[in-house]
């Protein structure tokens, strides 16, 4: 990365200072930086989605790019169909295109209900895709790794933590007596887990700040 007072570095440094200035109080510079970030992000994602999804996967594969004089390197499914009389498997992208257009119907209040169909399709396929994998990796594999002998302190902690944590989330019986006591142990495990997660989060956020300070002092100002 180029160091010093280049245009890009200076702009990035000013934007960083603008965003950090919110810590002092809400101000105009922060608002400008925030609006700029939102706008640039929206534009960036639009371009990425067009060039990574719509163009290569839909327009190039179907042959729409070729119809308008573009050359992605091979004929599209429509060209194969009309020139060679063969149905290419890429013709299936027509359905994806139709589902995409149906999704946009949400913008028209009178026929907005049409958008429910592609949403149902997406939810259904995602659920199907994840069901087996989640069950295997997040249920069965975790269950298997929790059935372990009490041969070490770590193993005892894992088994006791898992059992008491599960009992804490058991709501079908009143939490008193032995059940209440075990559930209270579960609370301790949960609290320690949340504490560890919070500690990691603080560490992560500090790292982001270190990255920006390094950019300002080393890359931009060249002091380090």
């Amino acid at each position: 990365m180029e160091t010093g007072f280049t245009f890009a570095n200076t702009l990035a440094a000013l934007l960083t200072i603008g965003i950090i200035s919110f810590l002092w109080k809400d101000n105009l510079l922060y608002k400008i930086c925030e609006a700029l970030f939102v706008g640039v992000s929206a534009g960036y994602w639009f371009v990425i989605l067009y060039y990574q999804n719509l163009l290569p996967k839909l327009f190039d594969n179907l042959g729409i790019t070729q119809i308008f004089g573009g050359d992605p390197g091979e004929p599209g499914a429509l060209q194969v169909l009309f020139n060679e009389g063969r149905a290419d498997s890429r013709l299936l992208y027509i359905f994806a295109g139709i589902l995409g257009i149906m999704l946009l119907m949400r913008l028209l209040p009178n026929i907005g209900w049409i958008a429910r169909w592609p949403i149902a399709f997406t939810v259904g396929t995602t659920a199907g895709l994840y069901f087996v994998s989640y069950f295997h990796s997040n249920a069965m594999a975790q269950l298997e790794s929790s059935i372990i002998p009490f041969t070490s302190f770590n193993n005892i902690i894992i088994v006791v933590g898992t059992v008491t944590g599960l009992i804490y989330f058991y709501f079908s019986a009143e939490r008193k007596g032995v059940l209440g006591g075990v559930a209270n142990v579960g609370i301790w495990f949960l609290m320690i887990t949340f504490g560890a997660m919070f500690g990691y989060t603080v560490m992560s956020r500090m790292s982001l700040l270190i990255g920006r300070f390094d950019f300002i002092f080393a890359t931009w100002l060249g002091l380090v």
């Binding site: 990574q52 994998s133 997660m197 990691y200 500090m206 270190i210 380090v224």
Partner: protein, 277 residues
């Protein structure tokens, strides 16, 4: 005095944190590093590989997470190139392959590699970003060349020398996922490990690493590096000291400052509790 402390303007704390983070930039102190078992496991998986082994590295992060993940990427790329491992770069995040390019440039600039810098399509390839999240991971299990028809430079993937004989996960000796969220390590565990039995190690941002420990414990993840501390540990193991080690000093100073304020805050609270009643 304690009442004043309890009413301390939060901006004073911000200033203390900023000073704690910036001061170490100007200090020449080497912080001793203790390597944690999960980072050691990650490194050991790389150690088991023989020269010429194929490593798939997925750069699933963007510039905001670079302070934590980029040092891991640079350290392990240096390790891979020094050991003559073949590196295959992909990205499920749009900026991931660009971060990979920056990491490779950092390796090339290192004096250890000045005489023999890593060569494209000899030591590494960058297959670029592919949209589709977990579907991409699943698709690599069938055919990586169909999943990534062109590399990051626009070359047809099937024409690359390094891609000859590479079809799916069975051709990779190890997968290293650098992840800052979705899609990331969870998806790699669910689809690459769960469905194709791939060998996976991961470098994560600190904020998401606690969620990965169950996968580590169950053996679905073979090694885990979480956050800046782990980045510094990896640099220590690989003997390539970079920004992970440098930034860790700032991190430690900030932690000490936070701990100090927590202690002061609690002392002030307990000292004034009776008076407020």
């Amino acid at each position: 005095m304690f009442e004043k402390l309890l009413k301390l303007d939060r901006r004073v704390i911000f200033i203390f944190i900023a000073v704690a983070l910036i001061t170490p930039f100007f200090l020449d102190i080497k912080q001793p590093m203790t390597v944690s078992p999960e980072v050691r496991s990650l490194y050991d998986e790389f150690e088991k590989l023989k020269p010429g082994s194929k490593v798939l590295i997925s750069f699933d992060y963007d510039p905001p997470s670079a302070p934590e993940l980029q040092p891991m990427a640079v350290a392990m790329l240096k390790y891979c190139f020094a050991k003559d491992l073949k590196v295959y770069i992909i990205g499920l995040w749009p900026q991931g392959p660009l971060q990979a390019n920056l990491a490779v440039e950092a390796v090339k600039a290192d004096e250890h590699f000045k005489d023999d810098p890593p060569q494209y399509d000899v030591d590494y390839v960058n297959l670029g970003f592919m949209s589709g999240n977990e579907v991409v991971i699943k698709s690599i299990g069938s055919d990586i060349r169909r999943t990534f028809p062109r590399d990051n430079l626009g070359n047809p993937t099937h024409e690359l020398e390094m891609m000859k004989g590479v079809t799916n996960y069975s051709n990779f000796d190890l997968i290293f996922n650098l992840s800052a969220g979705y899609p990331g390590t969870v998806e790699w565990v669910l689809f690459a490990v769960g469905r194709f039995n791939a060998k996976l190690v991961a470098g994560n941002t600190a904020v998401q690493s606690p969620g990965m420990y169950p996968y580590l414990n169950s053996g679905q993840l073979l090694g885990l590096a979480g956050g800046l501390k782990a980045a510094a540990e990896l640099e220590d193991l690989a003997q390539y000291y970079g920004r992970g080690t440098k930034f860790m000093l700032s991190q430690s100073f900030a932690h000490l400052t936070i701990i100090l304020f927590i202690i002061i805050g609690n002392l002030a609270y307990f000292a004034t509790r009776g008076r407020n009643r």
